[in-house]
Amino acid sequence: MSDPIMTLDGVVKRFDPRLSLGDRIAAAIGGDVETRSVQAVRDVTLAIGKGETLGLVGESGCGKSTLGRIAAGIMKPTAGTVRLAGAPVMDAAGGKLTTRIQTVFQDPFASLNPRITIGETLAEGPIAHGLVTPAKARDYAAQWLDLVGLDPSYASRYPHQFSGGQRQRVAIARALAMQPEVLVCDEPVASLDVSIQAQIVNLLLKLKRELGLTYLFISHDLGVVRHISERVAIMYLGRIVELGPTLSVYETPQHPYTQALLASVPRLVTSDADLAEFKPIAGEIPSPLAPPTGCAFHTRCPHAGPRCAVEQPGLVAPMPGRLAACHLLAGGVGKAA
């Protein structure tokens, strides 16, 4: 990894239930009211190198989108800090301090304002932040449309006049118009048709080459992450359980969850001989309202031992450049230390 441009340090996010007076009274007398907090992100420390693409992978409820929002400076962490080039991205009150991190969301139907033209959508942020004057906004918007492969004349059209793939191009252009250094992409191709996914993946690769962007690429699609990311972080129940260069992690996954996840990915089988029997990982992700003690994965792990239920494993380096949080890699799963 080159010098880090973005660092996340000890990031924690808890969502506390908003209880009304009635809820609290009901809870006090033993009513069925949820009073526990959702522990979405639990102590994540990460660094992203300048010009790097870091893939953030996990299943629903693992906290990857929450972590992405915190990294983008649009959600205040319960604890911990996010820094861009050494400077905090958020003030103490939760106000965003930088425009150099922008986000592309999954659903381009929900993320674009249907009532204004895409030219206006593109110019709105840059005008507000003084990146361009209103007089020059039209040319400015056209320049970014051109860069993402859309005809600049489309600036006068409304979102409903575009297909899903074109809308995602617009959403990318809007993020780029803020001239960011870091782009947080939250499942940017998940809602697109197969033939359109490749177009958007290629666009992201091209933009990175041409603009020297840094990506935090959040996805549940391990195939796309393998293609686009130099390093990958695997999340499970709010924690990073494995981190390392993408190909190395995919070839020799160290954490049992990473191993199970990679084995679960449906493979394109092209010969009957490859129709091997495969035993999928048992059970489902436990609720983040009550994550298991010790290693959060121990309830589903085929290798779990007594130590795993009581002691939370820290990230260790089983080989150079790699990190994984599993007792198997640090003293075994036997009796608790």
Binding site: I196, S264, L268, F278
Partner: protein, 322 residues
């Protein structure tokens, strides 16, 4: 073996204010007992409407305008509604993508399963619930007896989809139509359900039509696939044969753009453009405007070619000596 289902020249059109949308236009295929057929395509390809047409579930302004659907000796297209209702849910059942929308939120799992049982069979509650218990067990639901008393919101997404599959299997149907049943689920849960479906097909002899946009999930599950584009089947045949050596340039394009088939970091081979509007299809082959092999002859609709158990609809098929 003789066919369980034979669809011939099926056409389902939607008569909208903007014009006639030919969502399904001349689709033919057959399903043998116990066979798994994958219906693959992108949005707007007509794969779901094909599935709905089989069960008479197409709502106005859409309707089946042509063709026949022969199932166990009857033509479902011309069958009166009450006779169709006796087949739907009993001999042919359906699993939808969104199990949350499929299940009734104010009934327990047991209550709604009992309704489905009694819709087709005069059984006591006790006998009905024992059928339900058996069906839940077959789809890998742990502790099925207590799940009967659960409401849908108390179950995870994967468990809800298992319940929906269990309901579809209640009457041990000859055919299950599954419309993107694992698309909304996490990878690990998707793997579990595909694994369980494969077991169920093997042990019960139920035939399955698996509708999906995902070539990878269908590649290990389906015996045969039909690739659909703009309301037509552009290619069909044994799954692995097609994935190894696709004939139609569209199938080839889809396969080439799969990231795991390319070295990391390089530009993916992409199909240019986007799927055409079914309101204004170009004359001739609908894929021609996006096709790298298209020539003048593609302005005419290609006929269906057939050989070695495969079909394709293309003037310039790949891997075929000219």
């Amino acid at each position: 073996m003789s066919a369980l289902l034979e669809v011939e020249n099926l056409a389902t059109h939607f008569f909208t204010r903007a014009g006639v949308v030919k969502a399904v236009d001349g689709v033919s295929f057959s399903v043998r007992p116990g066979q798994v057929v994958g219906l693959v395509g992108e949005s707007g390809s007509g794969k779901s409407v094909t599935g709905y047409s089989l069960l008479g579930l197409v709502d106005p302004p859409g309707r089946v305008v042509g063709g026949s659907i022969r199932f166990e000796g009857q033509d479902l297209v011309t069958l009166p509604q009450d006779r169709l209702r006796a087949i739907r849910g009993r001999r042919i059942s359906m699993v939808f993508q969104d199990a949350t929308a499929t299940l009734n939120p104010v009934l327990t799992v047991g209550e709604q399963m009992l309704l489905v049982v009694k819709a087709h069979e005069a059984l006591s509650d006790k006998a009905g619930l024992s059928l339900a218990l058996d069906a839940l067990g077959r789809v890998g639901i742990p502790d099925p007896a207590s799940r009967l008393r659960s409401y849908p919101h108390q179950l995870s997404g994967g468990m809800r989809q298992r319940v929906a599959i269990a309901i579809a299997l209640l009457h041990r149907p000859a055919l299950v139509i599954a419309d993107e049943p694992t698309t909304a689920l996490d990878v690990s849960v998707q793997a579990q359900i595909i694994h369980e479906m494969r077991e169920l097909v093997r042990t019960s002899g139920t035939a399955v039509i698996w509708i999906t946009h995902d070539l990878a999930t269908v590649s290990s599950l389906a015996d045969d696939i039909l690739v659909m584009y703009a309301g037509r089947v552009v290619e069909s045949g044994p799954t692995r044969t097609i994935l190894r050596s696709p004939r139609h340039p569209y199938t080839l394009g889809l396969l080439d753009s799969v990231p795991s088939r390319n070295p990391p970091g390089v530009d993916l081979p992409q199909i240019p453009g986007s799927t055409p509007s079914l309101l204004s299809l170009p004359p001739g082959c609908p894929f021609a405007p996006r096709c790298g092999f298209a020539t003048d002859v593609c302005r005419e609709m290609p006929a269906v070619s057939q050989a070695d158990g495969r079909t394709w609809r293309c003037h310039h098929p790949r891997g075929v000596a000219a």
